[in-house]
Amino acid sequence: MKTPTQRFVFFRNLSITIKHGVGISLLVLLILIVALTGYLSLHYVQKVDDLIWSNTEIARLIYEMDLEMEKARHLHAGFFLYYPKIGLTKAHENYAQPTIRKTASVVSTSYALREMMSQPGISDALNKSKIDLNLYLSSAKRFADTSIIAFELVTKLAAPENGLEDILDKRIRKLKTELTDFPVASKLFHQIKDLINEHKLNRERHLMQSAFNIAFKLRKTIKTNPLINLQQNGKINLLLNQIENTAEQIIETDVKINAKFKDFALQEKTTHLISEKLVTLAKKEVEKAQQTIAVTHEFVSIVLIIVTLAGLIAAGIIAVMLNMNITHRIIRLTHTAKKMEEGHLDIVAEQESLDELGHLGRTFNFMAARMKTLIEDLEQEVSDGTLELINTNKDLQLEITEREQIEEQLREKEEFLNRVIDQSPFPTWISDANGTLQRTNLALKKVLNLTDEQLVNKYNILQDPIATRQGLIPLIRTVYEQGKSVSFAGKWTGKDIPSMNLKDSESVNIEITMFPVLNQQKKVTSVVLTWLDVTHRKRAEKEKQLLEQQLRQSHKMEAIGTLAGGIAHDFNNILSIMLGNTELAIDDIPKWSPAHESLLEIKTAGLRAKDVVRQLLNFSRKSEQNQTPQNLGTLIKESVKLLRSSIPSSIQIIKNISKENNFILADATQIHQVMLNLCTNAAHAMTNEKGTLEIHLTSLTIKEKQTDKFKKLAPGEYAKLEIKDSGIGIKPEVYEKIFDPYYTTKEFGKGTGMGLAVVHGIVKNHNGSIHVESQFEEGTSFTIFFPKIDQCKMENMATQIEERQTGTESILFVDDEPAIVEISLKIFENLGYQVKGKTNPIDAIKEFEANPDEFDLVITDMTMPQMDGVQLSRALKKIKPDIPIIICTGHSSKLNEEKAMNLGISAYAMKPISMMKISKLIRKVLDR
């Protein structure tokens, strides 16, 4: 079996030029075939396109021709329709002449059409239709001819004056004149006239014939009528003959016109059929041509695909052949040459074929053989010298490696030291033995905001102006000269080191440590300096001191408050007995009695004492409050009104009250107290009783970010009350004491020392804040912030109408003070209740345990020796869990509303208890 190489041995032996020539020729041939196919198909499609255009044009011309013909017919019909109305002349102008023009246009189009249909390429079917076109043309011409004749006939019939119908009318009128005097003849005449008129409408010949028959009778009548002479007879007969003659002509013309109409109908039929046929044919031809184009497209596409595929296959074969016979062999030859280049001179190139590549192969083989011999000789000489060189080279290589390792270790160490210095958080620099800066770290550059270019070799610490100014140079010199480490502190302002961008008021506190770097001879080679910024630490220490001072003040105030609260409790108990008995005595003693007046005085004194207690409690923030929505502006106005009379008129009071919402949740009495205390103090501060007291009430919104500015105030809406005087002011050393109770700068007897303490307590109770600003001998300003309440909350807290409420339920009252028990029993009985009193809580438990259902309510004191109110409540709840309990207390911090609710206590009341309040509270608890 032959190998592919053997199979194409002839081709292999051809020269490369011929092989390329064959390949390219074949490709050119294929391109030519494709081009030829494309050209032929385009040519054919173009031809069919032309045919479509021609056929479309033919169809268009046919439509045009038919349309013109149709218009001509319409105009023609219009002539006959309208000439009786518009007259012959107008009808000729409007209809007859346009008819002929349109027909001429049709004829012209017919000729154009016939010419087009004679063009080459037009289908046989259309070509044959030239016959139809001839017929159309003939019909059109004939239409024109017959139209003209028809118009002439109509003119003959209907022309004014000379037309047959007018002539007939004239003759009839003449006859009428002749027959006017003869009734019988006249009657016959009218019959004739009627028949002629009827004929005029219907155009039926028999009507005219009937008229002639009547005329026959008329002739006979006039002939036999003796009243008609021969001349008249002759004249009438002549007229009758003329009428008959004209009528005959009219009939004859009618017949001719009728024939023309029939002619037109036939022509229309003929032309219509022809145009329809031609248009259908032209359309079919267009469709046929379009189909031909489609088929041609398909055919050409297939041919092109086949030719392209064949071309690709042929190109592939050519490529393979060329590849096998030229490219591959060149590649193999190149490989062989490369191998030879690499020294494989034993390799043999292809040399079988007779073409150029075969010859090249043989040349290569010859060259390789020659080179191999030469190289073998040369190699032997070189190998001996080379061995020695290799050994020397190896020794050198080892030495280089060792040195490189040492250098690497040194470099690593240096890098480590650099990283230590650079990454140190402490600003550090290193100077040489002369104090000149040599190196810095990142922290230093960051703090100073300077670069190495600005520092290294440009700064010498021994010449530093700040150190010189602060007298540190001698200390620093000891490091350089004696090799000792030193540490010292310093304070720098922005002016000292501008690059740090400090504000004028800002300064930094630093601690500096310097230590020397000594060489083996213990000589200073370098000095290292590190900083430590202690600014924050110093500030924190100062703040700590301030806080400790505030804490001490707070503890002091708390202790005073506790003391005041204890005193108030005892006072309250005493006052409760006094006021209770006084109220009972007032009820019992008639008004006319002098004792009644005395009792009222006692009550007033008791109430005044109660106010003192309340002030103490206000300060200690443990007083009972009755905070309701209040318009602060109104309260201030009321206070000012009251104060005006007590403050010397030489002091001007300037009042500025904002009209906006100033509602706060407040105890009106306490607010009055604040105003009274502050304004009185202000008036006292104006020692010469001259000056200005300014009272301003405005609003302020404190936002989240402003809470620092207004210490301890939550963000929100505040009423800002500012009371400012132009008095002597407060000395700085007494600033911290002004709110202490019983602290006063006034002379003995002029002040209690409780004024500002009470103000402070009230403000705090109202969740407000008080601030004081004063310049000695210039004046003082107190600013108070009260939280505002909104309208909605205000409405919910509408004031209630106070009314004493009564009941009939059974109450157990417990208090360790017998007098209170006694007065309370009387009060509750006055309110209608059944009351049992106990001064010992244990007795009370026993009483309750014996008859738990007997009692509807228990009221107990909070502070009792045996057990407190809470413990008693728990014991009673064990016996009867649903028993409502009210605890009364003077000031006890053990109880508040929240705590009471948690213990299951229904309510708690602050002593001294007023009848009004307790009656409402009892009712409230029992009615739940």
Partner: protein, 421 residues
């Protein structure tokens, strides 16, 4: 090596040239050149001979038109449907028996230049317009039914509607009216007549011929009037006849107008005394069938019927082909007309070497004018310069017995008139 290649190429070129030269020297067939004054109709081998047939194929006269076509078909059958071994195709068009119908139908034929002749028409009125159009187009026309004198000659001169190329085998009825007048005046003793035509050249020709002859004999034409085609109301014109005191009414009309006159006259008592005479167009089964007894006693003037073995044979052929008897004998004239036309084509056509048949238009006309003593079924035919090919011979027949039908009518001959040609 290259030299050998060049030598082969040279020899190849020489051979090619030799072939071309020899081909060029070969004698080409002589191209036919038409010398006919009116041009030629050239028919390729695959093209048939085309003849247009224009007949009245609608209305009451449709039977007459149909008989003409059948006469043509029978003549063609006798030639096996071919002339000069070519098939004959014919386009049939209806003239409607009107002038306008005729001319419009003629245009359809004339439009095709391959048509060489027209066979028709039925009615003379249609023939007047067709013949003009045909003559202008250079065609030849021949009719087996037209008889109006206006189409060919009157008193030996060209009639007003004569056209070159027009021929007919039906007799010129110029003398038909004369025959009727002579019979009326001499045999029937009529002295006052009334005539009615429909304006058609056929009917007008007959009444004119009648009036002229009757007057010349000494009679009085008391009424010479017309009706319109399609008229139905005939009482007024019949009243005029009565008023004129006519003894005979000559109305050579076509159907249905003739029928209306007859039927309405029979409703007028006074018409019992007036004799009625129609034309040859009424001598057919259709009229007889429609009129029935009403036509009894009525006279008809028309061409003498054909007789003889050839006529009988043709009658049989007719019956065989169409399974019925002919309604009129005019189909014989049609047969003869077609025959002389075919013969003239055969004589004048020229077939060239390529088998193309050339028929000279004028040659064909001349061929027909040259027809002499042609033995037709209807008689010996010789075409004169006016296109009349038949010898005129008329008779007057009377319908006595309706039951005898058309044959009874034709045989009841009262008068024969054969003028000298």
């Amino acid at each position: 090596m290259y030299r050998r290649k060049y030598a082969v190429l040279l020899i190849f070129i020489l051979i090619l040239q030799a072939i071309l030269i020899f081909n060029g020297c070969e004698k080409k067939p002589a191209k036919f050149k038409c010398k006919d004054a009116l041009g030629c109709v050239d028919l390729r081998m695959d093209e048939p001979i085309k003849i247009g047939i224009l007949q009245a194929l609608s209305g009451k006269v449709a039977a007459l038109g149909q008989e003409q076509i059948r006469g043509f078909e029978l003549a063609l059958d006798d030639r096996q449907g071919k002339i000069l071994n070519r098939t004959v195709t014919f386009q049939i068009e209806d003239t409607g028996c009107t002038a306008e119908g005729g001319v419009n139908a003629a245009l359809k034929i004339i439009a095709d230049p391959k048509y060489i002749a027209i066979f028709g028409t039925t009615c003379s009125g249609a023939a007047a317009t067709v013949s003009k159009a045909m003559s202008d187009a250079g065609l030849t026309m021949i009719s087996g039914n037209n008889s109006a004198a206006f189409l060919t000659s009157i008193t030996g001169k060209h009639a007003p509607n004569w056209q070159k190329g027009y021929f007919r085998t039906a007799q010129n009825e110029e003398n038909s009216g004369k025959a009727a007048a002579i019979y009326a005046y001499k045999e029937l003793g009529i002295r006052k007549v009334a005539t009615i035509n429909d304006g058609d050249i056929y009917t007008k020709g007959l009444t004119d011929g009648f009036n002229k002859a009757f007057s010349s004999l000494g009679g009085i034409v008391v009424l010479d009037t017309s009706i319109n085609k399609e008229d139905k109301e005939m009482r007024p014109v019949l009243t005029a006849v009565l008023n004129a005191k006519a003894q005979l009414l000559f109305f050579p009309l076509f159907q249905p107008e003739a029928n209306h006159i007859l039927f309405q006259a029979r409703t007028i008592l006074e018409f019992n005394k007036i004799k009625l005479m129609g034309g040859g167009a009424l001598i057919n089964n259709s009229f007889l069938k429609d009129s029935d007894e009403k036509a009894k006693g009525m006279y008809f003037v028309g061409p003498v019927s054909c007789e003889g073995p050839a006529v009988d044979l043709m009658g049989k052929k007719y019956k065989n082909k169409y399974q019925t008897s002919p309604s009129v004998f005019y189909f014989l004239y049609a047969y003869d007309a077609a025959s002389i036309l075919f013969e003239a084509i055969e004589k004048t056509a020229f077939k060239d070497d390529k088998g193309i048949l050339h028929i000279g238009r004028k040659a064909l006309r001349d061929g027909l004018y040259a027809t002499t003593d042609f033995k037709g079924i209807s008689g010996i035919l010789s075409c004169d310069q006016f296109g009349d090919c038949a010898r005129p011979k008329f008779n007057v027949v009377q319908l006595k017995d309706i039951s005898l039908g058309l044959e009874g009518l034709k045989t009841n001959v009262k008068f024969i008139y054969s003028p000298k040609k």
